[in-house]
């Protein structure tokens, strides 16, 4: 590349007719009406509520169906449980009833002569 140094100097100048005016004023976006925003929010909320309630009702219906199916196996479980219960050793084999706890009266009758006690013991033992 060669540069021709013999060319004449040319000054940069604005285009003919001048530049466009600069947009230096305040730039604001196109305004949406408040009523429109309000209506849009209401629409979104109502759609969401509708979907939510629909899903909730469907879930409840599903739960009910599940419970209906579960009730069908309850008699089976009940019957097996009854049989297992009757087969187990649930009955009380002792045939006893509750009694008040006996008081430990050892030494309560120390004034009684020991010979009497021995006599009574012997007498008591003799019967058996």
């Amino acid at each position: 590349m060669t540069i021709d140094y013999r060319q004449r100097w040319v000054q940069d100048l604005p285009p003919p007719g001048g530049y466009e005016p600069l947009p230096f004023g305040r730039q604001t976006p196109k305004m949406v009406s408040g009523y429109k925003i309000f209506a849009g929010v209401g629409l979104v909320i109502s759609i969401g509520t509708y979907l939510f309630i629909n899903q909730r009702l469907q879930d409840l219906r599903n739960e009910e169906e599940e419970r209906r199916r579960l009730t069908k196996i309850l008699p089976i479980i009940q019957a097996e449980n009854d049989i297992m219960f009757l087969g187990s050793a649930h009955e009380n084999v002792y045939h006893t009833r509750w009694m008040p706890p006996s008081i430990d009266r050892c030494g309560a009758f120390k004034i009684i002569p020991q010979s009497w006690v021995a006599e009574k013991k012997q007498h008591h033992g003799g019967h058996h």
Binding site: I77, A79, I83, F85, L86
Partner: protein, 113 residues
Amino acid sequence: MEPYSRAELIVSVDSIWSVCERTMYAFEKCKIDNGNDPQACLKYSVSVAGCTQKIMREITKTCKPELDKAVHCVEENNMRTLKCTKETEELFKCFKTNSFEKLVLLIIDLYKN
């Protein structure tokens, strides 16, 4: 008496009820009439348990793969059967085609004797 899990029972509930429906109703009626005494309804308990045992044995003998698939599906879906309708229907179809008629003949014989 073999113990069957809840998943197995709930999956094959259609097959069981297709045969043992009258037994179940008789058992429930006895329970309503006689309260919660297991001794009073022992006859019906034995019949319900026996019918269920027979059918479950039949299913585990003839429709083992279908049963396993359905049980796996139910256990994976938090014991919910609504998502496993396809598997349960397949199991019921297998039971109907393979064992239902045989069982019905067997039960008719039992009623005759």
